[in-house]
């Protein structure tokens, strides 16, 4: 049973997409008159995908709980923005979201591809049709057998956060836009367009870099402010599988820039475009096939589409490898004389190598469960693996980034470079000295701080230089590098010099922690619009005291304990309070508790107690009454040797109210009493509390425990640099995106293949002006 309009839209998309790809292929093979038809068919494909998304969204907004997906991920109590986000709360919906952005981006791709439209669109469509096929098989429009449930299961409470409303869409824009450089690269190999593809695809690679990067940061920020474990990055497989394509995209952007300006590294860029795309597919396979279920915090469970994902992955790996090998010898290699070692070309190629090695190592660690599955016991790597391997990568990248602005393409003499670096070296030295003064220790972190400051200042000077000559639009790369320096400094300082303390805060009792005093004041009860929170007064000398409200509540649907930290942000540091455990406290207690199993006798201070039987009102239980009387028969043998049969009353309330237990005197022991504390019919046991039987009254006294909140308090110095540096990096990438988009729009490229390496190529007229670039 399926909701047919949605299914029809998906099948329509599959057919229209196939038809469009075939028509584009024919248009490319000597039938240019078919181009308008191919475009119309693409528009049809896009319309179907948008329609399928609209159908799913409508079903969600209308609370159609008879649809399986709606029932599984949404519920009546969700506010509108969370209701919208349930669209991508599950696997099928997030695949559909990926297709949705892919379909919209495609409408821009065929306009921007110009002379390369037909082959590019064939490949571009191919990258999505496999996912459409998966959704035709694993439909989000499956219906539940009637009757329809009155309410849905609801959205995972962890995902009920504004950041989780926008994070997945941005991520999937990035995923979908990575299909574009791949489509251009395969089309370039197919049509022998060795340089033309880079002109058109560079803006798309930059767009991927910006969107994927933004999505990764949003995910990190969400983890930092919601999950309460104090960090923003956990090297979890799901995080890694979006980080790796991003690093490859960064490598691709650098390689494409190199090819645009120096006509070099054509092979490198074709390989990078393929690898970046394939890692997206590989990550999708890793996180959605259930392979990592025992290893990840948030991988999805297996839906039975693993075979499909493997087929799609292997298909594109095979296609890329075959296309590259097929054309390998035809790809022209730069004839230009070899640049000196200390030139920008060499720095770039080194940077690309470091990017690739870093991404490969992260991918290796993430794949550990898969790789070791071949042996007897699947394993994973420790988190320290990533820190160990990423550190040398960061050092190398910072070093290269620092040198780039003052090393020209033609090469630089070391002495000249040294002279231009003096100012920035002084700045780096100053920053390091300041860090030392403020208590930073450790050779490796200090080296990283110094390098980061050096890189940031060198690039900042390049930005200023460009701005002075009125060419700020061309300073995107330098500006991005300034951001890289700032961000890495923030990562190092906030990570290495973070101070974490765990403290128990008894209520109303000021507790000192360093120079800060924390006082747990009360539990602020929750309301439908506000979560239950803990009120903590925070006082530090020289600053105004404030109240922190970390949230701590039980999700009523899942009975999960949810915790959100309270973060006090300043430029210098974040003060992070994450609640850990709340103990409501207990009043003082007098008495002695014993647990008796049916038919056995226990001796307490000379008094023998035998539990004979329960006598529950079964008829009342069967009638479903809320109050049940349980009578407990006990035989008491006090020290004087007599025997007494006693019956204890115990009234149990099904609605969770406290039970009423009758207090009865213990015969033969003056002043002593007993009552039932609890019964457990399954074990045939009863718990009693005795009072006044002990010779020493202190044996029966248990002191009260105070209401206490345990918290983890973290001081994170300069974490604002992580976010700030990231914004600067993205601003730089944005500048480059604007410049390259303009450039691509103005470029007029001749149709047909470009000269290849073999002189035997029929259409390769040496020296002919095949590409004309207009520069701004």
């Amino acid at each position: 049973m399926y909701f047919w309009p949605g299914v029809a839209a998906l099948w329509g998309a599959l057919l229209a997409g196939l038809a469009s790809a075939i028509t584009y292929a024919r248009a490319d093979r000597g039938r240019p008159d078919l181009l308008p038809l191919a475009r119309s068919l693409y528009a049809g494909y896009a319309t179907c995908i948008v329609a399928a998304s609209a159908v799913l969204m409508t079903l969600l907004l209308q609370h159609r709980f008879d649809v399986s997906y709606v029932n599984a991920y949404s519920s009546l109590d969700l506010p509108l923005h969370f209701l919208i986000s349930t669209f991508w709360g599950g696997q099928e919906g997030s695949f559909l979201l990926w297709l949705f952005f892919g379909a919209l981006i495609g409408l821009l791709v065929w306009r921007s591809a110009k002379e390369q439209e037909a082959p590019v669109m064939v490949v571009y469509l191919a990258t999505f049709l496999g996912i459409v096929a998966i959704l035709c098989k694993q439909s989000p429009f499956k219906m539940l057998p009637p009757p329809a449930p009155a309410d849905g299961v609801g959205l995972n409470p962890l995902l009920q956060d504004p950041w989780m409303v926008i994070h997945p869409p941005v991520m999937f824009i990035g995923f979908a836009s990575l299909s574009v450089p791949f489509a251009f690269a395969i089309a370039a190999l197919w049509k022998k367009r060795w340089d033309g593809w880079v002109t058109r695809a560079l803006p798309w690679a930059l767009l991927t870099f910006v969107t994927l990067g933004t999505a990764i940061l949003m995910g990190g920020y969400w983890a930092y402010k919601t999950l309460g474990w104090g960090g923003y990055w956990g090297w979890d497989p799901v995080e890694n599988t979006s980080l790796v394509p991003w690093i490859f995209t960064a490598a691709l952007v650098h390689g494409m820039f190199l090819q645009r300006t120096r006509k070099r590294h054509r092979r490198v860029n074709l390989i990078l475009a393929c690898v970046a795309f394939v890692t997206i597919l590989y990550g999708t396979f890793l996180t959605r096939s259930g392979i990592l279920a025992d290893f990840s915090v948030h991988s999805f469970v297996d839906l039975g589409i693993t075979g499909w994902l493997v087929a799609i992955l292997l298909g594109f790996v095979g296609l890329s490898a075959a296309a590259i090998l097929w054309r390998w010898r035809s790809i022209p290699v730069a004839a230009e004389e070899e640049p000196p070692l200390l030139s920008r070309s060499v720095l770039f190629i080194l940077g690309i190598a470091v990017f690739c090695a870093l991404a490969f190592v992260i991918l290796l660690g993430t794949s550990a469960p898969l790789l070791t599955r071949l042996s007897d016991n699947p394993s994973q790597v420790q988190i320290s693996f990533y820190a160990k391997t990423a550190t040398p990568g960061a050092i190398l990248l910072l070093g290269l980034t620092a040198l780039v602005p003052f090393v020209s393409w033609k090469g630089e003499r070391a002495r000249d470079l040294g002279r231009s670096a003096v100012r920035s070296l002084l700045v780096a030295g100053g920053v390091t000295a300041l860090a030392l003064l403020l208590g930073a220790r450790g050779a490796l972190p200090l080296l990283l701080i110094a390098l980061a400051a050096f890189a940031a200042d060198m690039n900042l000077r390049a930005v200023v230089r460009k701005a002075r000559s009125g060419k700020l639009g061309g300073a995107g790369g330098y500006l991005a590098h300034v951001g890289v320096g700032i961000m890495l400094a923030g990562i190092v300082v906030s990570g290495v010099y973070a101070q974490t303390r765990r403290v128990a805060l008894p209520i109303d009792r000021p507790t000192r922690l360093g120079d800060t005093t924390l006082t747990f004041l009360r539990v602020v009860p929750g309301s439908p619009t506000r979560k239950q929170a803990m009120e903590i007064k925070v006082e530090s000398p020289g600053r105004a005291p404030y109240f922190a409200y970390p949230k701590m509540y039980t999700n009523t649907r899942t009975n999960q304990l949810m915790v959100n930290p309270a973060i006090r942000k300043t430029v210098v540091r974040d003060f992070y309070i994450a609640p850990q455990e709340y103990d409501p406290g207990q009043p003082e207690r007098r008495g002695r508790d014993v647990r008796l199993v049916k038919g056995t006798t226990q001796n307490v201070e000379g008094v023998g107690l035998t539990f004979r039987d329960f006598n529950a009102d079964r008829a009342a239980m069967l009638r479903g009454e809320q109050t049940i009387l349980i009578l407990t028969d006990v035989t008491v043998t006090p020290p004087d040797g007599s025997t007494h049969d006693t019956t204890l009353r115990y009234v149990f309330h099904m609605d969770g109210r406290e039970a009423d237990a009758g207090e009865a005197a213990i015969p033969g022991v003056p002043g002593a009493t007993m009552r039932v504390l609890g019964v457990s019919p399954n074990d045939g046991a009863v718990a009693l509390r005795l009072r006044g039987v002990s010779k020493n009254p202190a044996d029966e006294y248990q002191a009260a425990t105070v209401e206490t909140l345990s918290v983890e308090v973290t001081r994170k110095p300069l974490i604002s640099l992580v976010w700030g540096g990231f914004y600067v990096m993205m601003a730089g990438a944005g500048l480059a995106l604007v410049k390259r988009t303009r450039e691509a729009r103005r470029a007029v490229l001749a149709p047909g293949p470009e000269p290849s390496r073999e002189p035997s190529e029929p259409r390769a007229a040496p020296g002919a002006p095949l590409t004309v670039h207009t520069r701004s």
Binding site: A72, D294, L341, V354, I383, K388, T389, R557, E581
Partner: protein, 135 residues
């Protein structure tokens, strides 16, 4: 350009070599309780919680419990840190750490709770670094 490629290649190879050696060093295999008892490095064991065995001291934040497997095996685990939320409801617990003095000294716990949403939900808990590791 050849020289540039050579340096880049060597750099990348060194890097990947470092990656592979630390990969082998930090690999933590899933092992049975018997294997864990004789293992030298960091391992991970999975089992279900014996609900009568767990003890937690709020003051020192020391958690200890026994894991049992479906073959009737039992292994004690010690963890220093906050007791994971929903610890008692866990259907299975993965403890990652070293076997020392008759118990697994866990650095991390993965707690799998029954969830209505995605079949089962896993959460990770890391022990704080030992005192003095951070300045």
């Amino acid at each position: 350009m050849r020289r540039g490629y050579w340096i880049a290649g060597i750099l990348a190879l060194l890097f990947v070599g470092l990656g592979i050696t630390s990969f082998q060093k930090t690999l933590t295999p899933y092992v049975s309780f018997e294997e864990a008892r004789s293992a030298r490095g960091v391992v991970q064991v999975m089992g279900s919680l014996d609900k009568t065995s767990d003890k937690y001291d709020v003051g020192t934040q020391e958690l200890s419990f026994d894991l049992v497997d479906d073959r009737g095996g039992r292994i004690p685990v010690a963890y220093r840190g906050t007791r994971p939320a929903n610890f008692k409801d866990a259907i299975s617990i993965v403890a990652i750490g070293r076997y020392r003095e008759g118990r697994v000294d866990a650095e991390r716990l993965l707690v799998k709770c029954p969830s209505k949403y995605q079949g089962a939900e896993v959460k990770t808990y890391d022990a704080p670094p030992p005192a003095g590791a951070r300045s």
